[in-house]
């Protein structure tokens, strides 16, 4: 059973439909114990950094998510804002705190490109990881600039190179939306569920 963390600020239908198409049972959870111990957990994210950070506080989920991700054998998938929440903070919200698992600050895209980045962009894994090079759908105004030490990562380009995905053990964080990235995205989800490395 895949437990999808219900922060209350994300639109989850597309993700749920993607798991349905893969024949994987899912359910929504706000339960700290379940999040720490479930076989598969997704931290989704569409929306604003501050609102999502607040809802982690309101639901008292910070410790359980952090503890889970610090046990890298447990499959955890963080999507879009979910990936950004792994960081210390974001330029999007000066005072809101992320989970601080990655010692980085999320930055806005440069003014040379249209923001938000909306559309399909190439994702290139720079180390062996849970997917091959492919094209993914992005919808984001902010991004991770540098790869964290000890994590595998993929790069993409939009007004310069940015980090479009990071992974460690069975934890996978994607700035893009695998659930909206057609057949390639479906393969990313399958590989994450099954623990396949490409």
């Amino acid at each position: 059973m895949i437990q999808i963390i219900n922060t209350g600020v994300a639109n989850l239908r597309s993700l749920q439909a993607a798991f349905d198409r893969l024949g994987c049972a899912w359910s929504l959870t706000e339960d700290a114990n379940e999040i720490e111990n479930a076989s598969h957990v997704v931290l989704p994210g569409v929306g604003a950094f501050a609102a999502a950070a607040q809802s982690l506080d309101r639901l008292h989920l910070r410790r359980s998510i952090t503890d889970r991700i610090n046990r890298p054998g447990l499959p955890t998938l963080c999507i879009c804002l979910g990936m950004q929440l792994l960081c210390e903070s974001s330029d999007e919200a000066d005072t809101a705190r992320g989970l601080g698992i990655l010692p980085h600050t999320i930055k806005r895209f440069s003014n040379d490109v249209k923001v938000p980045q909306l559309g399909w962009n190439e994702v290139r894994p720079m180390t062996a990881g849970p997917f091959e090079t492919g094209e993914a759908y992005f919808a984001n105004s902010f991004r991770l600039e540098d790869a964290p030490d000890g994590w595998g990562f993929a790069e993409s380009e939009y007004g310069g190179v940015f980090i479009s995905s990071v992974w460690r053990g069975r934890t996978l964080a994607c700035q893009f939306h695998p659930e909206l990235s057609g057949r390639w995205g479906q393969q990313v989800l399958t590989n994450w569920i099954e623990g396949t490395t490409c």
Binding site: V46, G119, Y158
Partner: protein, 250 residues
């Protein structure tokens, strides 16, 4: 680098896809679920579903259509037509839309743009602008082209951006259904007034028209009849665009 997007548009009326010529003379063009999936497998980058009648009764049918389309569709889905409140937008998102497009309601109540982008995110908030050339200005039209507003499309696009819109869906009323190509002067004007991604819509009949739109700053192109008529598949269009030097996802 980011790819130029090709977006088939399905005009939906009572749960069926229809084709609009200047928003009139509708004819049946099929089942939205089948057509959506068909376009995804052909290589569409995104889909837009527009509720062209959007009566109260029709809106319930539209929610059902969105749910059914979402079950099959693995690419982004934008839904527009008749959305006048946060509740309407929320219901469509819950049914499976990824983005919601607002038009007449945004003109009547610009605060809706801000409310949507704060609650759902700007990447989810599409402002659709229908406009036509009147006395030398691009005049905004609402209510499916039936009401002329004292609003200039160029200023309106900049205002929509300031209020938090994430994307502009720009339809030329003069070109819609004419097969004479996108309205390039309108595209030039709007893409220089606002820095949001702009989807060009209205008038496409060939790949050359799409190349023109991309060269005039469009971030994506919307097309209906070129695909519904079956003259070209989405993939054929993209291969030809690639040969013309446009970066597309193949």
């Amino acid at each position: 680098m980011l790819k130029s997007r090709i977006i088939p548009c399905l005009d939906v009326n009572h749960g069926r896809v229809v084709k609009g010529v200047k928003f009139q003379n509708l004819r049946d063009a099929g089942d939205p679920v089948e057509l959506s999936y068909h376009y995804e497998t052909q290589g569409a980058d995104e889909l837009v579903l527009l509720d062209v009648t959007a009566t109260r009764q029709d809106r319930i049918a539209m929610l059902e259509t969105v749910e059914l389309v979402r079950r099959r569709l693995g690419i982004p889905l934008t839904v527009g037509g008749g959305i006048s409140s946060m509740e309407d937008a929320g219901r469509l998102l819950n049914a499976g839309a990824d983005k919601v497009s607002i038009n007449s309601a945004a003109v009547r109540n610009p605060a809706l743009i801000q409310a949507m982008s704060e609650r759902f995110g700007s990447q989810c908030t599409v402002v659709a602008i229908d406009a036509k050339m009147t006395d030398g200005v691009f005049q905004v039209l609402t209510r499916s082209g039936t009401t002329a507003e004292s609003l200039n499309a160029i200023q309106w696009s900049a205002r929509a951006q300031a209020l938090g819109a994430g994307e502009i869906l720009l339809t030329s009323f003069d070109r819609d259904g004419t097969r004479s190509g996108y309205d390039l002067p309108m595209l030039d004007a709007v893409t220089s007034a606002c820095s949001l991604p702009v989807i060009a819509s209205g008038g496409a009949d060939s790949v050359a028209h799409m190349v023109d739109a991309f060269e005039h700053g469009a971030h994506a192109v919307l097309a209906a009849s070129i695909f519904h008529d079956g003259n070209m598949t989405v993939n054929e269009v993209k291969e030809e665009l690639a040969r013309s030097g446009i970066h597309v996802r193949i």
